[in-house]
Structure formats: structure tokens, C-alpha cells
């Protein structure tokens, strides 16, 4: 049964294992790795291996949630961390699965390409002597002479047009590229080579996708920056809040564009009363951009789903929030700080956390830490909260610390205070001092430390800059893979054999069909071929008589 094995590689179970030398062992290992069975096993392993990354929080997506998880799962957390469950897609075990699969893929595609190349150039096999043994078979008797019928069969399979015959339209599919071989009065035809071509294109394209992903990983970078309305961002390393370059990125060669956020329009669902209330509806940033500091300014709209592009770099609007404008004065009324400080939203109603660091305060530096609430209300258990994401009742709820803001110059988040070398200010009642400020309000700090004023609220846009030189290659690979996949699933590889022999004054035409794998259309192919030969023999017969 060679036909049933056309699909696959030789059965490894037949291989007996005599004493193998090191080379033999290598060859054996290679054969095992590139076998379909191993590929299947690796595919399933890949599917299973990908799952933990959807269950446990991942560092590359949300490092904060990983930290929370580790803090609340003190016994299991470190073990999961050691096993790479928080970095599944960059963990050694996940990488080893896909690298093995990659090798297996290459080891499968290369020899199959060679085989296919040879098969495409080879002649179809000779017709078997007994066509009735084939999976599909049919025969009929016609009046025409054997040679004539044989030529008709050839013409039909070659897709040669027959003028004046009405079968032409119905059987135009005969021109689907049958490759013919004739010996005496028997004919072999083979079609559907594009099936294996599609199969190989599909698998090769997957390799192209992987290369595209790798190129993006090595040469691509991403960076994020919060830009308060009215401010601007220049594309240099120092301009970023976070910057994550691939290993082979030239960080000096970033294209020097500038994006200024002039205005940010934000809309939330106000009309619904159910779970949809407060759901975001539209974010639009009005920007002024320059491709370089000397280039003219253009006004562009930046939306979710509508990034800006500068050469190969795209700018996305991925977040937004509030930046209260705060003025801090010292005891003499001199302004120590006046700026818009971005606060980070924590929930769907934009309850936001942030810190205001007044390093100019003396003798001790001042730090304010707390919440910005766009629609403030006092929750009995959670304290100051927000009931809506838009500005319906904006308020700042702050605690105050004094001391050393930057102990030992350690790097720290701009949204939190490092209170290690700081003490919290207390109110007259001895309780920690809590300030609740509304826009326009000024509160004096105890002990002549000055005052804090909540001037206004501005919005900020979370811009994300991405550069991925591999994405078009990955896209090309994916589209080619899809095309190859469709070809490999839809095209059938078929062989048909025709034999013609005389019986008395008439001629018997016998047609047999053989397909690779399941082929519900094979019977129809054999039947259509027979009826085409019959019709054409009859027409030609009457033509010659006339």
C-alpha cells in the first residue's frame, strides 16, 4: 500500500536498532525529531505550555500584578517564579519546545521539498494492469476505434478544446493540469501537485513568520511616555519614561520626531445605568507633530486604533489619566513647585494614585502622597473613592511626609514616595494629617511649613512608541502560510488511468482513479471522465459518419 503512505514519512516502528555508533545515534535522534509523531507531540506540548501564561499574570504584560501575586502567595509564588510561570513566553522550557518544533519543521520541509521537486519532474507511474482494483473504477463500451478513443481520452485530460461539443462547458475543469504518460493504449494522468506545494509553502512560511518575529525582537524597541496636555515629547532615549530596546538596537539612531499633545477629548458612557455606565467610549488626542525639530508643525489626530507614524515608528494612544496642577509655597509664600503631576488610574472610575515631591522645600523636603478622584465620594470601607471616570467632583486626598525624598539617590517611581527616611506629618488631633482639596482650594500646612494649592486638573495621554522592523516580514509569512494552507487543504492529488481495448467491433474504455487520502470528489472525476469520453466518441463518430 504505497498510496496510503504518500502522506507521511516511513513508519519508524519498522526500524530495527542494531548497535549504533555515535553518528548512528545522531542520525537516529534526527529521524526521531523530524518524524511526524514527534512534531505532533511537540505541537500538543506547545499548546499545553502556552496555557499557564494565560492563567498566571505575566511580567511582560503587567509586572504589578505579578508582584501582587507573589505578595499574596508566599509559599507557591517563589516556586512558580523559579519555574518561569510569570515569564512563560521567554522561559527556557517554552523556548525549548518551540525551538525543537522549529528544527523539526526545517527537518521536515527540506527533505519533503526535495522529494516534491523530484515528484513534480517525474512521469506519472504506468497504469496498473487491472484498473478495476483501484478505489474508483468505471468502464463503458463505445463504437469508435480504440486508437480514436485513446486520443479522445488524451485530449479530454489535456483539456484540449473540442469545438462544437456541448460537453465543453461542463468539463472545462479538465484543464486542471493533468500530467500525462501513455504507453501503448494505456494512459496515466496525475494532478494536484499544488497540494504538496501549498503544504510546503505553508510550513516554509511559518519559518518566515518566526524569522519576522525574531527580527522584531532583535532590532525592535518600544517605549512609553506620559504627556500632559500642553506639553510635548521628543523621540530620544531621555524622553521616555520607560524604554525597552531589543539587543541589537542602535539607541542613538532614533528618528527625532516631536509630538505635542494640545488637547485630549475623553468620553465615557453616561446614559446607561448598568455595568456599561462609565465604560470608555472615545479617546481623541489633538496633536502637533514634527518629523524633526526643524520640520514644519502638522496638526494630527491620534486615536485608539489610529496611530501616528514617523517612518517605521508608530505612536499609539494607549492610556490616559489626570494630572492635577499643584502649587506648593513655603512659609514666606514663595513658590517652591508649580506643575501638573500625572496620577495613575487604578480602577475603571479613574481613582488614581500619585506623589508630589517638593525637593526645594527646606529644611526638610516635602512629599505628598495620595489619591486623585475625578468624581469623589467617601466610601464607608474603602475611604475616598470615585464613582465615575469623568470630572464630576474632582478632589485630591493626600497625606504629607517630610524628610529625605531620595535616600542614597536610589531610583524610584515618580508615582510613589520612598518614605524610608521620611516621617508623616500629624494634625492637631495627633492623627496622620489628611488633606482633601478641591480645585481652587489652598490648605495651609501645620507648623508654618507653607501651603498647597490645587489649581486645576489637566489630562495626560499615555503615548506608546513602537518600532518593529520584522512585522511586515511576519505579515507576509502569515498571509503566504494561509494561502499555502488553503491550497493544501482544498486541492486533491489524484491519479487516473485509462485503458482502451477492442472487443469485437466496439471498444471498451476502462477508467480507474486513485487519490491521496480521503477524496470524496474522486468518484465524480472518474465518472465525468467516462461520460466526457462517451459523449465525445459519440459526437465524433457521428461527425465522421456524416
Amino acid at each position: 500500500m504505497t498510496q496510503s503512505r504518500m502522506d507521511t514519512r516511513p513508519d519508524e516502528s519498522e526500524v530495527t536498532l542494531p548497535a549504533l555508533g555515535p553518528l548512528g545515534m545522531l542520525r537516529w535522534a534526527w529521524r526521531q525529531l523530524t518524524s511526524m509523531r514527534t512534531a505532533l507531540f511537540l505541537l500538543l506540548l506547545l499548546a499545553i505550555g502556552a496555557v499557564p501564561g494565560s492563567i498566571w499574570p505575566q511580567r511582560n504584560i503587567d509586572a504589578g500584578r505579578v508582584a501582587d501575586y507573589l505578595a499574596s502567595h508566599r509559599s507557591a509564588g517563589p516556586w512558580l517564579d523559579r519555574l518561569g510561570f510569570f515569564d512563560v513566553y521567554s522561559s527556557p522550557w517554552f523556548a525549548s519546545i518551540y525551538l525543537l518544533l522549529f528544527v523539526s519543521l526545517v527537518g521536515c520541509v527540506v527533505p519533503r521539498s526535495k522529494l516534491h521537486w523530484r515528484a513534480m519532474r517525474a512521469q506519472p507511474p504506468a497504469a496498473p494492469s487491472r484498473l478495476e482494483r483501484l478505489p474508483e473504477h468505471g468502464q463503458l463500451e463505445v463504437d469508435a476505434a480504440p486508437e480514436e478513443v485513446f486520443q479522445i481520452a488524451r485530449d479530454v485530460l489535456a483539456g484540449r478544446q473540442f469545438l462544437g461539443g456541448h460537453w465543453l462547458g461542463r468539463h472545462s475543469s479538465w484543464g486542471r493540469g493533468w500530467r500525462l504518460r501513455s504507453e501503448g493504449l494505456s494512459l496515466s494522468a496525475e494532478s494536484g501537485f499544488l497540494r504538496e506545494s501549498g503544504n510546503l509553502v505553508f510550513h516554509t512560511s511559518l519559518i518566515v513568520v518566526i524569522v519576522g518575529v525574531a527580527v522584531g525582537h532583535l532590532f525592535g524597541w518600544r517605549g512609553d511616555r506620559i504627556v500632559v496636555t500642553g506639553q510635548s515629547f521628543s523621540n530620544t532615549i531621555s524622553g521616555y519614561d520607560t524604554f525597552d530596546p531589543g539587543p541589537w538596537v542602535n539607541t542613538q539612531g532614533l528618528s527625532p520626531f516631536i509630538v505635542a499633545v494640545d488637547k485630549l477629548d475623553v468620553t465615557f458612557e453616561e446614559h446607561s445605568i448598568g455595568a456599561q455606565r462609565g465604560a470608555p467610549r472615545d479617546f481623541t488626542a489633538y496633536t502637533s507633530t514634527q518629523t524633526s525639530p526643524s520640520a514644519p508643525q502638522i496638526h494630527q489626530i491620534l486615536k485608539v486604533n489610529g496611530p501616528l507614524t514617523f517612518g517605521g515608528t508608530s505612536v499609539f494612544l494607549l492610556g490616559n489619566g489626570y494630572a492635577p496642577v499643584i502649587t506648593v509655597r513655603d512659609g514666606a509664600g514663595r513658590v517652591l513647585m508649580h506643575e501638573a503631576t500625572p496620577f495613575l488610574p487604578q480602577d475603571a472610575n479613574y481613582k488614581s494614585v500619585g506623589a508630589i515631591k517638593v525637593s526645594a522645600a527646606s529644611p526638610k523636603q516635602l512629599g505628598f502622597f495620595g489619591l486623585f478622584l475625578p468624581s469623589e465620594y467617601l466610601d464607608q470601607s474603602a475611604g475616598p473613592s470615585s464613582f465615575f471616570p469623568d470630572l464630576k467632583n474632582p478632589a485630591l486626598a493626600l497625606g504629607v511626609y517630610e524628610g529625605e525624598l531620595y535616600p542614597q539617590g536610589r531610583p524610584q517611581s515618580v508615582y510613589t514616595l520612598d518614605t524610608q527616611n521620611m516621617t508623616q506629618l500629624k494634625g492637631a488631633d495627633g492623627q496622620p494629617l489628611r488633606l482633601l482639596l478641591k480645585p481652587g482650594q489652598t490648605i495651609a500646612l501645620p507648623g508654618g511649613r507653607g501651603s498647597i494649592t490645587f489649581d486645576a486638573v489637566q489630562r495626560w495621554a499615555g503615548l506608546s512608541m513602537r518600532y518593529d522592523p520584522g512585522k511586515l516580514l511576519a505579515l507576509f509569512g502569515a498571509v503566504a502560510a494561509l494561502a499555502g494552507l488553503i491550497a493544501s487543504l482544498m486541492i486533491r492529488r489524484r491519479r487516473v488511468f485509462v485503458s482502451v481495448r477492442p472487443t469485437g467491433a466496439r471498444t471498451v474504455v476502462s477508467v480507474g482513479g486513485l487519490a491521496k487520502g480521503e477524496d470524496p470528489g474522486l468518484a465524480a472525476t472518474v465518472h465525468d471522465l467516462l461520460s466526457a469520453i462517451a459523449q465525445r466518441s459519440a459526437t465524433q463518430g457521428s461527425d465522421t459518419k456524416a
Binding site: 503512505r5 467610549r281 508608530s314
Partner: protein, 328 residues
């Protein structure tokens, strides 16, 4: 602004469709039950022959068709005819429901779990009716209308979300391309899943001695096409659904690049879409390998559908990710 009255009419159409599908389901069940004539069971053992021939025919795939197609004793399948008509009517009601839901919110109704379920159920029915135009799949009706009814029931109760506008990240023409093709693929995978289950049942029944089968098993055995044919049908539907799922994956990646700036970020939904793709790819590979029996390969197809259910029911609701559009 959303037109709540129209959304109410859409819900009404869903309820009507559910009523119609319930009737269709009953009719399909009656049709299956009548595949074995009641008389034949009342007669003595020696006269049971026609039934046994029918049951036997499944064992040898090359044998003559089941007795319901026996020219000597043609079975008039009025119940199946009524069931098919009801299924089409239910399909029309679902199309109307989807259209009204879409018009009520001025957008394609693909923005939350209720809408996915509704559109998915519609595509299942449309695909089933389309297949039924080309071949006789009346035996499959019960196993298509049943899941559709279940889906609609869950959609209108558990997943129900008020008609409303979309989140900013969903406002893109890729929503129509990506989600529509995804729902069509899931619809086809659902039908293929039903056929695969039936294939496993039929394979199991074909191994049993038809003479000692209980009445219910005899009915199922007679009503279903031969296992080989079921297997072929299941494979054919999977072979159409898989490229559609591949397209879903690619379109999703392109859209993700537009909306979030990265075409692949291992978001839970992306992970599960990938897992589904890999499992069905393994199924197709297993089918192409001689070492695997169709039955073993079909277990992979079932695992793939299990992953689809997880992707829809678990990931949307419980996992934190960027695809959190369940509206719940």
C-alpha cells in the same frame, strides 16, 4: 444613541427563535425516533430481520444504505421536513434579531459576549441550512439545533448585555473582519464538533452486536450515517474552519498592531486563540499520518473544541487581559 426599543424587539426575535428551535428540536427528535419502525420491535425475534440488516449495514461501509432509504420500505420523513422548515424560520428570526440589535446600536453587533453568542448561533444555523441544501443532513438537525438553543439560552440570560456603544479599542473596521470570521469559524467548529461526537458514538455502536442492542441504541445506530461517512464529513468541515481560524488569528494580529502597537503580546485571548489553532493543526496532522486512527485524531478535534469553549466562556470572564469585552 442607542435605540432601546429596537433592542427590545431584537430580544423578542431571539425569544421567538428559541421557541421555533424548540419545536424544530422536538420534530428532529421525533424523526430520529421513527427511523426504526415501532412494529419491528413488537414482532418475534425471527421476523426482526429488516432491522438487523439495517443495523448491520453500518458495519460494512460498502453495504447497501440503511433501511430508511430501502426502496422496498421508504420512510416518509414528515417530521424531518417540518423540522428543517422550522430551522430555517428560526434562522430568519435570528438574522432579524442580529440586524435589529445592530441597528439599535448603529454598529456591527459584535461588541460583547451576548452579541458574539447571538451572531455565532446565527452562523451555526446559516451554515447548517447551507449544508442541507447540498446534501441530506437531516440526521444532524437535532445535534445542531440543540447546541444553538443552549447558546441562545445562555446568551439571553447569563451573557445578556444592554445595547450600548463600543469601547474605543473596538471602534475599527477590523472588528467586522476579525470577529465575523472568528464567529463563522467557531460556528463551523461547533457543527464539526457535533459530527465528531456522533462519529465516536456510531463507531462505538458499530462494534456492538446489533441483535442484542437496546431500542435506543438501535434507533441511533439506524438514524446515523456510517461512521466512515461521519468521519469524512467532520474532517471536511474542520478543513474549512481551520483556514478561517488561521485568518482570524492573522486579522487579529493586524488589528492588535493597529490598536495596541504590538501584533502579538500573549494576551490570554491571544494565547487561547493560538492554543486552539495548534490543537486543530495537530488534528489535521494526525489525520495525515498513517500511525493515527481517525478515532484518536477525533479526540484531538474534541480537545480543540474544548479550548474554544474555554476561550469563550473562561477567558472572556475570568482572565485579565486586553480582550476584556464581555460587558459583564
Amino acid at each position: 444613541m442607542t435605540n432601546q426599543t429596537l433592542a427590545q424587539y431584537a430580544n423578542l426575535a431571539v425569544y421567538s427563535a428559541m421557541a421555533v428551535f424548540t419545536l424544530a428540536m422536538i420534530a428532529f427528535a421525533l424523526d430520529l425516533a421513527s427511523s426504526v419502525p415501532r412494529v419491528s420491535l413488537a414482532v418475534p425475534e425471527t421476523q426482526k430481520k429488516p432491522v438487523r440488516v439495517g443495523a448491520d449495514s453500518g458495519v460494512d461501509v460498502l453495504a447497501s444504505p440503511a433501511p430508511r432509504d430501502d426502496p422496498d420500505r421508504p420512510r416518509r420523513r414528515q417530521a424531518a421536513g417540518i423540522a428543517m422548515m422550522l430551522t430555517r424560520l428560526g434562522g430568519v428570526l435570528l438574522i432579524a434579531a442580529v440586524a435589529m440589535r445592530g441597528l439599535s446600536v448603529h454598529r456591527p453587533p459584535l461588541g460583547n459576549m451576548f452579541e458574539f453568542a447571538l451572531v455565532g448561533a446565527m452562523f451555526v444555523v446559516v451554515a447548517f441550512v447551507a449544508i442541507s441544501l447540498r446534501r441530506d443532513v437531516r440526521w444532524l438537525g437535532l445535534f445542531v439545533v440543540g447546541p444553538v438553543l443552549l447558546t441562545l439560552g445562555l446568551a439571553i440570560t447569563v451573557f445578556y448585555t444592554d445595547a450600548s456603544e463600543l469601547l474605543p479599542s473596538l471602534k475599527s473596521f477590523w472588528l467586522v473582519i476579525h470577529v465575523t470570521v472568528a464567529t463563522i469559524a467557531v460556528a463551523l467548529f461547533t457543527i464539526a464538533f457535533s459530527v465528531t461526537i456522533l462519529h465516536l458514538v456510531k463507531t462505538w455502536l458499530e462494534r456492538q452486536d446489533p441483535a442484542s442492542m437496546s431500542r435506543i441504541r438501535t434507533i441511533v445506530n439506524t438514524a446515523l450515517p456510517p461512521a466512515r461517512s461521519l468521519d469524512r464529513t467532520a474532517y471536511g468541515i474542520h478543513a474549512v474552519a481551520f483556514p478561517l481560524w488561521t485568518f482570524t488569528l492573522i486579522a487579529g494580529a493586524i488589528w492588535a498592531e493597529q490598536a495596541w502597537g504590538h501584533y502579538w503580546n500573549w494576551d490570554p485571548k491571544e494565547v487561547w486563540t493560538f492554543v486552539i489553532w495548534v490543537v486543530y493543526a495537530a488534528y489535521l496532522h494526525a489525520r495525515a499520518t498513517t500511525g493515527w486512527s481517525p478515532r484518536a485524531a477525533n479526540y484531538l478535534a474534541l480537545a480543540g473544541y474544548g479550548a474554544i469553549l474555554v476561550n469563550y466562556m473562561v477567558v472572556n470572564v475570568y482572565f485579565v487581559g486586553q480582550h476584556s469585552y464581555s460587558g459583564m
